[in-house]
């Protein structure tokens, strides 16, 4: 168990513009208990948290952390959660899109389940082929093209289309551009980059549904 962390910054330093939000967030994420971070809305990708949290909030949180001493490892459930978090962080590839979307944080997340060749990345307009399974948050499978899982109609071909051209939902277009040949990833797509307010009733997708896809990028032409 690590010794109790020390205050790196004074109040003045914290409030100063020279200290970027990201640094404070990193410190908090590294040192605070999971429940503490949850309460202060500091969980998740640092970039995203930086966009949504104000400096003042971070200063308050920083101070509160030291007052309440709710550091990592001070909560019983901590260990397991820590391990899970650690595992996730390791597998998170650097392939997360470098491009910052000016509309705000990307409305999907990607977790790599199986690494690709890290060489063949599709560009906009390239034809790609995928196997995929789509589920709702509650686990209902609304679509898949995988032969063993799909109904009697044997679909023996992966889905092919030109990526990055708006032919598919935005979450797919954005995510596939970050995948390499052979990669399998789990995508969680917010409704704004999926089927939005309307959903797709005939395919059992309700309004404002977050969609989860497991996608294998089979080929990039």
């Amino acid at each position: 168990m690590a010794a109790e962390p020390t205050r790196e910054w004074s109040d003045e330093q914290l409030k100063s513009d020279d200290l970027p939000k990201k640094d404070v967030i990193k410190f908090l994420q590294d040192n605070a208990a999971h429940s503490f971070l949850n309460e202060h809305k500091l969980l998740g990708n640092i970039k995203n948290v930086a966009k949504t949290a104000k400096k003042e909030q971070l200063v308050i949180a920083y101070n509160q952390l030291f007052e309440s001493k709710r550091f990592k490892g001070t909560e019983p459930v901590e260990d397991v959660t820590e391990q899970v978090k650690a595992v996730k962080i390791e597998e998170k590839p650097k392939e997360v899109k470098a491009e910052v979307v000016d509309e705000g944080p990307p409305k999907y997340t990607k977790a790599v389940l199986k690494k690709g060749d890290k060489t063949n990345f599709p560009k906009k307009g390239d034809p790609v082929s995928c196997w995929y399974t789509g589920t709702l948050e509650d686990g209902t499978v609304f679509d898949t093209n995988i032969p063993t899982v799909a109904k009697k109609k044997k679909q023996t071909k992966p889905l092919s289309f030109k990526v990055g051209m708006g032919k598919v939902i935005r979450g797919w277009d954005e995510a596939l551009l970050t995948m390499s040949k052979g990669e399998t990833a789990r995508l969680e797509i917010e409704p704004e980059w999926a089927y939005g307010k309307k959903g797709l009733p005939e395919s059992k997708i309700p309004p404002n549904a977050k969609l989860i896809f497991e996608v294998e990028l089979v080929s990039v032409d």
């Binding site: 789509g134 023996t156 289309f161 032919k167 307010k197 395919s203």
Partner: protein
Amino acid sequence: MALEQFSDVVQRCEALPNDSYTSDDHNVFTIAGRTCIEEGNSPQVLSIVLDEKNQNIVRSMGWNLLPPLIQVLLKKEDKHLPQCLSIFNHLLETCRPKELLIGLLEQLEHDDPDRIAESLHLLLNPLQKVLLCLGSRKASSLGMTLSSVLDQLAKLPVPVTKEQEEDDVFSLCRCCTDLIQFVRPFVQEARLNQSSGNQLEKSHKTASGQDEGAEDELQTELLKFCMKTLSQPLLDVQIRDPDTLPLSPLRTFASEILDILGAVGESLPSLLFHPLLKRKEVPGFLEEEVRYPKNSLASLAHLVFVHHLAADTFPSVFSPVFCLRSNMEHISILLSRPEDSRLQKGLELYEKSLVRVEDGSLPADLLEIKTFLTVPQDLVKVMTVCPKHDLRTKGLKLFQLSIDKFRTEAKYRFFQYMLRTSNHSGVEGYVIKNIKNQIDAALQPGNSNIWFEGAHLLPLLRKVFSLPDGPETDLLQNLDRVMESLNLLRYLVIRDKVTENQTGIWTELYKIEDAFMKPLRVGLNMSRAHYERELQDTMENKKKKTKDESVLSVSVDGDELPKMTSESQIQALHSALHTFDMIESVLVRIEELIEVKDGPEPAGEPHPLKT
């Protein structure tokens, strides 16, 4: 007599070596045999045909007996039906498949719907049996059969209402069900070919190129079949949804066709997004147009997107905008024909595609795609000319819906285009009303945009504030357009303060006065003078009771319509004058408002009205 002849020729030929029968032998056999059956001697024919000794000749010539046999079987009440059936079945097993096929197909052709339906019902099963005997060479024969069957099917009247589908008076539904039964084994074979041959490169000619070709042929014939059915009868049929009609043979038929497409390796997305997803060149003997006829694809789009028949296999990942783009091709095809059923389908497909897209999301560059301009033109045709009220109403609703889905620049360009090309006062008026709504929206705080304010707005307004024929414009014919233009002008003058001039109207006003208001004033005066004179003349004629000598008469269906009575004429003229008054009152009001705004601000300036 005939029986003796028949018996003789059979006996004689049995003694001869195979294939040395003369054409005379053939003729005697055929004529005598047919006569026997027609005259009711089937039991004797049966025993001759079944006789072990006679099998060679039966194999060679037996198929010629099919016509009278089938006639008996169709009659269903003949006392020799069982014997005929036995002969028939024996021939099916004994004779050569190719010859049997010809014989059977000939018996399909009829003109009377009842006979067609009965023949199909009787003969599809035997045809299937025969085709299955052809082994790997069956594809072209299957194609020929399917073609004949569909030609006959096309002659059957199509049910229009739900009740008609349930009653199935002309047996179209039963025939469709029979047809699916018929193709089942061939589809199964194609499905197996698909999965086993999946790894092979179709373009690669290997040593077994022959067999691959045969498999391809089977698939091609089934594809041709599907495409044909999608067009006929499916394009003319209204499919009922499960809640309306739980058991619908036609819906089942349509679903099966979609399934067959999958079995022969066609992917629905590939077919439907066909023009946009450049397909790889498939080597084969069918050209693209024949292989994938546009009407059939349009029909398919309707089945998939409106009736959701392939919901469990169609991928749920395509973006709604992309689906709309692709469907515009199909919508265009459907709206290009005047038949109600086609228009209905076109409108339904358009609606389903638009509704999935978010409001204000379609960008202006879509208008560079031809169909995004031709489909609204088709809609205008429906809205203005279609005799069916429901379709006209729906057309208008979709016209507005399509406008709502465009982003601001796209709306702007669309309005420009419609004003330039629609040539219909009602449509122009409707577009001008939309322009007013957009200007109103742009003037709301925080909604400012460059299209409905300032520099871009003015060219658009110039098109709005114009009279097609200057002062000589027919004001009654162009009433809708003129009134909406005046409404818009009045709105602008009230809403946009002189001091702000957000829309630019105040700097533009002098041009509008010259190009629009003054000619309109002149036109009103001229029209009014003309109609007042007409009214006077008519009233005088009425007093004098002079015979009305008009040069024109109108007749409908041979009956001449009665000439307008004087009373009606007077009423019409009054109505026209009333209309001019109405136009003038708005014009005057606008002139008043302009004067007021140009001069000092009076104390009781009314609150800007939102008209």
